[in-house]
């Protein structure tokens, strides 16, 4: 050990903290709660196996995500992180509906304002006639927007795990 204090994991597990202790870089002795909560939810041997299977440069992020999940599970023993995912998916759904409604309103305002314009100069007549007709035909687009807004529903929490994107919460 060379005189240095054992890491939080080895303190909790009451064992000698080896020089190459897999936990030591990520569970310093000044934060005992961090390992305690991970050990409570996942167990020390499972965490050790998970870390050993990862390249060194990914272990810090893995530990942080395990701590996050463990905290979520302790706060909500029934749903854990899945409760947070469900809540966030609902929020995304609601915001997308609000955005669709706002964009529809925007389209209506634009059409009103563009249809109130005086007739364009003769040289530009053909081009602007086409735009005017396109704007008028946008009434169909409005109903499509409204259909989208009313039909969008919150997605199922049971997502395909292979669609996960790697994002870091702590960079």
């Amino acid at each position: 050990m060379g005189g240095s204090s054992p890491c939080a994991s080895c303190k909790l597990l009451r064992r000698r903290c080896a020089k190459d202790c897999i936990f030591a870089p990520y569970f310093p002795s000044d934060d005992p709660h961090k390992f305690a909560i991970v050990h409570r939810v996942f167990g020390a041997s499972n965490v050790s196996k998970m870390l050993q299977e990862l390249p060194v440069q990914q272990r810090a992020d893995a530990v942080n995500s395990l701590v996050y999940e463990a905290n979520a599970r302790v706060r909500d023993p029934v749903y854990g992180c899945v409760g947070a995912i469900s809540y966030l998916e609902n929020q995304v759904s609601q915001l997308q509906m609000q955005l669709a409604v706002a964009q529809t309103e925007m389209l209506c305002i634009r059409m009103q304002q563009e249809s109130a314009l005086p007739m364009p100069m003769p040289t530009q007549m053909q081009q602007d006639d086409k735009s005017f007709l396109a704007a008028t035909n946008n009434l169909d687009n409005i109903s499509q927007y409204l259909n989208f807004a009313s039909s969008s529903s919150s997605s199922n929490v049971i997502q395909d795990p292979s669609a996960l994107k790697r994002e870091s919460l702590w960079t």
């Binding site: 409570r40 939810v41 996942f42 167990g43 041997s45 499972n46 998970m50 299977e53 990862l54 990914q58 992020d61 893995a62 995500s65 395990l66 996050y68 999940e69 599970r73 023993p77 029934v78 749903y79 854990g80 992180c81 899945v82 409760g83 947070a84 995912i85 966030l88 998916e89 929020q91 995304v92 915001l95 997308q96 609000q98 955005l99 706002a102 964009q103 309103e105 925007m106 305002i109 634009r110 304002q113 563009e114 109130a116 314009l117 005086p118 364009p120 530009q124 081009q127 602007d128 929490v157 049971i158 997502q159 795990p161 292979s162 996960l164 994107k165 790697r166 994002e167 870091s168 919460l169």
Partner: protein
């Protein structure tokens, strides 16, 4: 060998007692469900967690543990936290778009003449759309 053992007791190679904590939630026809949970959480942690919950909540707990275990197996670095991060980013993006759209609506409602005169002066001008969007930044 007891043919009626639950998936957990089969996996753990033990007798499945009548009051087995796992058996209502890990039927023998889905061995992979318990295998995933065992790989991430371990049998004793799952047993403790389920025992601490009232029985009417244990099914949901087992389901959520299985889902999180699947995410962790699929993504050993971030697990389901990767999805949480993605959703938070999506919320941020949609909120920003919504704020911009609402600001444009408010501007157009208050300044229809300004929008109209700009349209008259700038139809066909490719830089107009940049100018219009800069009003709302």
């Amino acid at each position: 060998m007891n043919p009626g053992r639950c998936a957990a007791c089969r996996y753990l190679r033990r007798r499945c007692p009548p009051d087995c904590i796992f058996s209502p939630y890990f039927p023998p026809n889905n061995p992979q469900r318990f295998a995933s949970i065992h790989r991430i959480y371990g049998a004793s942690n799952v047993a403790k967690l389920l025992q601490q919950l009232p029985s009417h909540l244990r099914t949901q707990a087992a389901d959520s543990l299985y889902l999180e275990a699947q995410y962790r197996i699929e993504d050993p670095v971030y697990g389901c936290v990767g999805l949480i991060s993605l959703l938070q980013q999506q919320i941020h993006d949609v909120e920003r778009q919504l704020a911009m759209t609402q600001a444009e609506i408010a501007f157009r409602a208050r300044h229809p003449q300004a929008v109209e005169s700009n349209l008259l002066n700038n139809v066909g001008n490719p830089s107009f759309s940049n100018q219009a969007s800069s009003w709302f930044m």
